[in-house]
């Protein structure tokens, strides 16, 4: 589709380990529209972070390797770009924030130095201009006395404040796309609410597209317009936000929603748990990767891995079974 600002096609990434090659991402395709917030949900090891790191060329190689695929951004394929060109895009047009703000900030440089670096590098600002802009960025992400705090080091900030600094840094060059990899997972709920609120406000002000990677379906519910659910390196369901929560089609999505207790739950019901464990794929499966844990699994599921099938308007799921009838689609 032409109106996607980021269009990823057939992405495959593997990691070489002493035990064999792990297929972390197995043919992932998705698009991101301008100004859209896309949630990417899945458990640890499902390939959600690796997908985004692959797109940005941040997979350590070796052991990692992007085997095949395309990632079209402003008519260029990010996966074929030289390291130099990619570095210009990263941090200026596409930027990323990570889960742990302490390990992603340099502890021996002041916040000011770390904030002004991309401004001088990508936008060619002078030192004074960059400091001016950095203070403004800190104000924008809700850090009071931005100007004085530029001289502080990361350890002088709390977890929530550090994540605000990371966001300020990511936004410094007004990117078109912000990729957020579990940015609130390490934070307390009251601080998480502050950060998601801040991101929503900035999104509306700046009109950037956001890819929000998380394992928390609750965070996605309040933030995203469309959601991808990943499992075993595949996208197994894709739907607009309300559709996904009202009519989940894939047994894994149904299980995931059922295994969450709700803070607004009135009656005590037993949680639906998904038995078994997520797979580690040493080879690309010929069967549905979820089949061993699926209560609806039928013969076809063990013989052929289902592709993403159209199951409703803008709603696709990779499952042979219609869970409402229990029959083959």
């Amino acid at each position: 589709m032409p109106d996607f600002i980021l269009d990823v096609q057939g992405l495959e990434t593997t990691f070489k380990t002493p035990d064999g090659v792990i297929h972390a991402v197995n043919g992932v395709s998705f698009g991101l529209a301008e100004g859209e917030t896309l949630g990417v949900v899945g458990e640890s090891g499902c390939g959600k972070s690796v997908t985004m790191l692959s797109v940005l060329g941040l997979i350590p190689s070796p052991p990692g390797k992007v085997v095949t695929g395309k990632a079209i951004f402003s008519r260029q394929d990010l996966l074929k770009m030289s390291k130099e060109d990619l570095r210009h895009i990263r941090g200026s047009q596409i930027s990323m924030i990570f889960q742990d703000p302490m390990t992603s900030l340099n502890p021996v440089l002041t916040i000011g130095r770390q904030l002004t670096e991309p401004l001088e590098l990508h936008l060619g600002m002078t030192k004074e201009q960059a400091r001016e802009r950095a203070a403004e960025l800190l104000r924008m992400v809700g850090i009071p006395n931005g100007k004085e705090r530029l001289n502080d080091y990361p350890h002088q900030f709390s977890g929530g404040m550090r994540q605000r600094v990371m966001i300020a840094m990511a936004l410094s060059c007004s990117p078109q796309i912000l990729i957020a990899d579990e940015p609130t997972t390490a934070l307390d709920v009251t601080i998480q609410a502050q950060i998601t609120d801040l991101v929503k406000r900035l999104r509306d002000e700046l009109g950037m597209a956001i890819i929000w990677i998380t394992h928390d379906l609750g965070v996605v519910a309040g933030l995203a317009q469309r959601v991808l659910v990943m499992y075993g390196g595949y996208i197994i369901e894709e739907a607009p936000i309300n559709e996904l929560f009202l009519n989940p089609e894939h047994p894994y999505t149904i299980g995931l929603l059922g295994s969450l207790p709700r803070v607004d739950e009135l009656e005590h019901t037993k949680l639906l748990s998904i038995e078994g464990l997520p797979p580690v794929l040493y080879q690309k499966p010929n069967a549905c990767p979820f089949a061993p844990r699926c209560k609806w699994a039928m013969e076809h599921c063990w013989n052929e891995n289902p592709p993403l099938l159209e199951v409703g308007p803008e709603h696709r799921a990779a499952c042979w079974v219609d869970t409402r009838t229990g029959r083959h689609r």
Binding site: H215, G218, L257, G258, V263
Partner: protein, 330 residues
Amino acid sequence: MSTNNDVLLQVEDLYVHFPIYSGFIRRQVGAVHAVDGIGFAIKRGETLGLVGESGSGKSTTGRAILQLLRPTSGSVHFDGTDLVALKGEKLRHMRRKMQMIFQDPYASLNPRMTVGEIVGEPLIVHNMAKSSEVEARVKHLLEVVKLEPSFSSRYPHEFSGGQRQRIGVARALALQPSFIVCDEPISALDVSIQAQVVNLLEDLQGQFNLTYLFIAHDLSMVRHISDRVAVMYLGAIMELASRDEIYLRPLHPYTQALLSAIPIPDPIADSKRKRVILQGDIPSPVNPPSGCRFRTRCPIAQEVCAESRPEFREIKPGHFVACFFAERFL
């Protein structure tokens, strides 16, 4: 001290301060007020949920109850005996009846011991089984937590997070305790695995008539598993009530803000909610704010809140709250 038979654990006026030393002669210059005067009771067979943000003192409370950390002052009556006054052999004897499940299943199992040794060790230490019986007991315990008995000869690294947490549960059950402190037992696990462990804990509670203190920061899970819930902030309990009271009719502004900050996995319900977003961070427990500790972030704070500490009072039967202005939410 109430002699009510229903009460298994009674905590009164519990303080845990960690001294801070500084200077050449290591003089004490201050203290971290980790737990600052809390009191509650847990009834036999019930689950008390203890929630709060990081640094609120909830784990310290759990450890101080089991005497893994000695409280600075206060009393902890377990089955009528004050644990704080006990030491040595007598305390060790009481420990049989109270066990703990830890947060990190990767750090709480010795990597050089087999599962059989880990689960069997408490039995040997407390002379609860002859060495010839240990193996059979271990196999039975593994079955109870829904693991294969044949796993007993394997090492912890061979297991996933959820399975390791089951091993931790089996170890806690080995001495047939009546009380278990669950210190964030699921927060290191993936969502689909969390439900497995919580369901197991619920099953075991019914099976062995266990009493739980369930410590967590995930308020949705606490609502799911608890009968009553206590909300902690900066070393003090702000509110304590039955599960439905806390979640449906919270009276403390902190509880209200905490509840409204939890994301609900339902976009339609989520968009209808009123959100109270707290400003700022949790203050340092080294010098907590004067008066009410929540006043620096409280949306309804007034002058009196800085002057004196609000009493933790029973505002209606079974519903305790530490706020001067809780009446306005009744």
